[in-house]
């Protein structure tokens, strides 16, 4: 395949198949929709990061002296809303899931291409409502919309933002549906479930959560809006409602939602670690099943966000027990990835550096989750910076790191170009250092007792906050660099060839960038996932050279 790399740019592909804005805005090609999502979420990532930098700058000094208290409250709220609903949730499933799932299963497109395009439009409309709320007074409820603050007391534009979150939920559901049906119905001949890449297993588990969980969020958000507008008396005690009911409903979705954010990241890690250690993923079945276990158990742990909220002692203990259980499948994954390296033949390209960063940071994020599951400790550290640090170790150290691994790993496939390796390694290092400097001090701040969402704080917390802000500026540079050199590589990058990593997986068996319908001929799969022994065998792969003709 490498032999045809110099001709691949001339080949018709999904990028040069058609030109003009209309050809993008009306496309039903899953790859183009993936690119639309990539551009959209990158913009929102920059916006959310901008809010984060203002937060960190405010916290440089104990006094609330940079912005007003109300402004600060809007900043952390908008940071959370934008990063979670407009970046983290769609980041991997809607960009890489969209782009890769059909190719990985050997299909021409997702099962419902028009639904897929609709999902992007719905996402953008929802994002439009959220942006409208930012411009017209902002939102100051925290991304968690806790009642009765959100329903009765907030003076900000809650209804517009809630509507925005409600609408983006449907784009999630559409993407989830599409992935589930595609994996069930459109696998290439010979591609049995146990031959699927672990990326597919992870996305399948994610999609199940999206389809089952998101409607609950939608209902909850509608109830908040109705309560705010018409005083229905569902959540506000003054009208006979129960504020804890909101928390139950909200976390019933929003806890599984963190698995929507982390499971696809785990899929990315499995693909990259196999490729750069030239090995089958250790314990394939266990890694696949742990994704399913996380999806199922993830629905049963929501009230661990509510230990101090006024639920009964026994309810808290049961949710604590279940939360400890959900830690196990994540641990199983970490151990299997580590074992995958054993007796591998390891190289250190940028995606692999991000994989190492992911495993280290996710391990810390996961283990500090055990602290929070322990209800006796949670009583002290919940709603402090300990939670903020834990959450960012999982969501930034985990999901964003994996997102960057994916972006570098599949960039040659998406664009046909290589990114500059030295710059990307430097930025990976900056991200790792900057991240730890930003968030590790927050664990200490949390145990010291600094509450989250504080505009001003007692002076003794300043040194750790200064460290955190310093780390955030390094992190910002690390995040901005890829945006520049990846854009640069579109024009000046070396041609990547079809499979620069010699990677397994059907997406690498077609040209880069792929043609509109992915494969010239439908592949027939006769091999296990991650058949690196065959790919690396002297004389090359024996039975899966190129693509075989179906039937």
């Amino acid at each position: 395949m490498e032999t045809i790399s110099h001709t691949s740019q001339a080949k018709p592909n999904y990028l040069n198949a058609d030109y003009g804005l209309k050809s993008w805005l009306l496309t039903t090609d899953h790859k183009r929709i993936g690119i639309l999502y990539l551009i959209s979420i990158s913009v929102f990532f920059v916006l959310g990061g901008f809010f984060a930098m203002l937060i960190r700058l405010e916290l440089l000094t104990p006094a609330g002296d940079l912005v007003l208290a109300d402004t600060y409250n809007k900043l952390f709220t908008m940071h959370g809303v934008v990063m979670i609903f407009l970046f983290l949730l769609p980041a991997i499933p809607s960009v890489f899931g969209n782009f890769l799932v059909p190719m990985m299963v050997g299909a021409k497109d997702l099962a419902f291409p028009k639904l897929n395009l609709a999902s992007w439009y719905i996402f953008m409309i929802g994002a439009g409502f959220i942006m409208y709320s930012v411009i017209t007074g902002g939102l100051d409820t925290g991304w968690t919309f806790y009642t009765p603050y959100s329903t009765t007391y907030s003076n900000s534009n809650v209804v517009a933002a809630a509507l925005g979150v409600f609408i983006t939920g449907f784009s999630s559901i559409f993407t989830g549906l599409n992935i589930i049906v595609t994996v069930h119905r459109m696998r290439a001949p010979g591609l049995t479930w146990r031959r699927l890449p672990l990326f597919i297993w992870a996305h399948y588990a994610t999609s199940v959560i999206m389809v089952l969980g998101t409607p609950v969020l939608a209902v909850t958000i509608v109830l908040v809006a109705l309560e705010r507008l018409f005083h229905f008396g569902i959540f506000d005690a003054r009208y006979g409602g129960d504020p804890l009911l909101f928390q139950h409903l909200f976390w019933f979705y929003s806890h599984p939602a963190v698995y929507i954010m982390i499971l696809p990241a785990m899929g990315v890690i499995s693909e990259c670690i196999a490729c750069f250690s030239r090995k089958r993923v250790f314990g394939y079945d266990f890694v696949a099943m742990s994704s399913i276990a996380i999806a199922v158990l993830g629905f049963l742990v929501w009230a661990h966000h509510m230990y101090v909220a006024g639920i009964s002692t026994y309810a808290a203990l049961i949710f604590s027990l279940l939360t400890f259980f959900v830690a196990i499948p994540s641990a199983v994954k970490v151990f299997n990835w580590t074992a995958t390296l054993y007796k591998g033949s390891i190289t250190f390209e940028t995606p692999m550096l991000y994989v190492f960063a992911f495993i280290g940071l996710f391990t810390i994020g996961g283990l500090t989750g055990v602290f929070l599951a322990a209800v006796g400790i949670d009583l002290h550290v919940t709603d402090t910076y300990f939670v903020v640090a834990h959450f960012h170790y999982v969501m930034v150290g985990g999901t964003v790191t994996a997102f960057l691994a994916a972006l570098h790993f599949w960039w040659p496939k998406m664009t046909g170009k290589m990114y500059p390796e030295n710059f990307s390694k430097a930025s990976a290092l900056l991200v790792f250092i900057g991240f730890n400097l930003t968030f590790f001090p927050q664990f200490l701040l949390g145990y010291l007792g600094m509450p989250r969402r504080y505009h001003a704080y007692p002076a003794e917390f300043q040194v750790l906050n200064v460290l955190s802000t310093a780390g955030a500026s390094i992190l910002a540079v690390g995040f901005l660099m890829p945006m520049i050199y990846l854009a640069w590589s579109l024009q000046y990058g070396k041609d990547a060839g079809d499979n620069p990593w010699h990677a397994a997986g059907l997406e690498w068996k077609t040209s880069s960038p792929p043609p509109t319908f992915n494969f010239d001929e439908t592949p027939t799969v006769t091999w296990e996932a991650y058949n690196y022994d065959e790919i690396d065998a002297p004389g090359g792969p024996t039975h899966n050279k190129g693509v075989e003709v179906a039937g």
Partner: protein, 356 residues
């Protein structure tokens, strides 16, 4: 330690040591696994780098290893669960006989009422060496009562009472934070817990007070006309409230509940929610007419009636004559007579209780 870079919070309650011990154990476990995974990755990355190991050896997996690294973490977290559950029971079960302080949270201040009658805002004086139970409610949004030095936190909700407790050990000044985001001045909703030597505390609590919290409640009880119906001679249209608090109450739907602060609060603000067996749903609601402070006074008063430190104001016949419906005792023999004795005479004028 270092004044500008504290790395560990002060320990000022009996709970702090328990929480810290589990915390240190978890830090040790987390550090062990983080170093284990990092060391393995580093070792494999160096030992099996392509330059040294050009050809990978394919290994499909090992069920024995999978069981090992499922079983060991599972065993560890189950031990942590049990340990943390034991601490949690200590945290959520206040010892009997704890002194009580009432708290009303509002945007953005903490209001405290001591049973001795002292009132404070954003500052709470408590004695060292005694159990203190906080009975808390909010006037508006959810707040959270958080004292890092005591390692306790509990949300303060509108529309109900929640509680937490502590046993301060070391006199000094400690942070009180609101830990649940509550709006503009959330980070300004901070205060100070002043832990005092018990003797000094008693002096402080007795100084300049013109009556206990229960006596303030007694005044409200008369002012709002409660005493018209809740009479000590069992002749009122409402139950006699002597010896109610802390006892079992039989409801007209057959359920039995324990009269606690939340029950009393609900019965004042939403009297129809739980009707005492043998009485009619005729009490008007006081929702919106009483401040949370006044409700707390009434609760403290009814609580004092329950433990015999206060009496109902109107003609005191025989206190505690069994006129209040008492839940059937397990022995059962006395149950019938208890129940039959509970139906009070419903005579008296039909005019509603005067308020104002």
């Amino acid at each position: 330690m270092w004044e500008h870079l504290p790395l560990f919070p002060a320990r000022a309650s009996t709970m702090a040591g328990h929480v810290d011990a589990l915390y240190f154990a978890l830090v040790a476990i987390a550090a062990f696994f983080t170093f284990l995974v990092s060391a393995l990755i580093l070792f494999f990355a160096i030992r099996y780098r392509k330059a040294r190991n050009p050809h990978a050896t394919q290994i499909h997996g090992s069920t024995a290893l999978e069981l090992l690294w499922t079983g060991i973490p599972l065993g560890i977290v189950m031990m942590i669960f049990v340990w943390s559950a034991v601490i949690f029971f200590m945290q959520t079960r206040p010892p009997k006989g704890a002194m009580e302080v009432y708290l009303v949270g509002k945007q953005w201040m903490w209001k405290f009422q001591h049973t001795e009658g002292q009132r404070e805002i954003n500052e709470l004086h408590v004695p060292a060496g005694r159990d203190v139970r906080m009975v808390m409610t909010s006037q508006d949004v959810i707040h959270s009562f958080y004292v890092p030095a005591f390692r306790i936190k509990a949300d303060v909700l509108p529309g109900r009472y929640t509680s937490t407790w502590f046993h301060a050990t070391t006199p000094g000044h400690y942070h009180l934070f609101c830990a649940e985001y509550c709006g503009t001045q959330h980070s300004g909703m901070i205060g100070e817990i002043v832990v005092m030597d018990p003797v000094e505390y008693d002096k402080w609590a007795a100084s300049g007070v013109d009556g206990s919290l229960a006596s303030a409640g007694e005044k409200s009880f008369q002012h709002y006309g409660c005493s018209m119906c809740h009479r000590a001679d069992n002749a009122g249209r409402g139950p006699n409230l002597t010896s109610v608090f802390g006892h079992q109450v039989l409801l007209d739907d057959g359920r039995t509940i324990t009269a606690d602060e939340s029950y009393i609060r609900e019965s004042i603000l939403n009297p129809g929610a739980k009707i005492v067996s043998g009485f009619k749903n005729i009490m008007p609601t006081f929702e919106g007419q009483l401040s949370e402070d006044e409700v707390i006074g009434l609760v403290a008063y009814i609580k004092a009636l329950g433990n015999g430190t206060a009496n109902l104001p109107l003609p005191v016949s025989e206190p505690n004559s069994g006129a209040y419906p008492v839940a059937p005792k397990p022995e059962g023999s006395a149950a019938k007579s208890d129940k039959t004795a509970t139906t009070p005479e419903k005579n008296g004028a039909a005019k509603p209780a005067a308020r104002q």
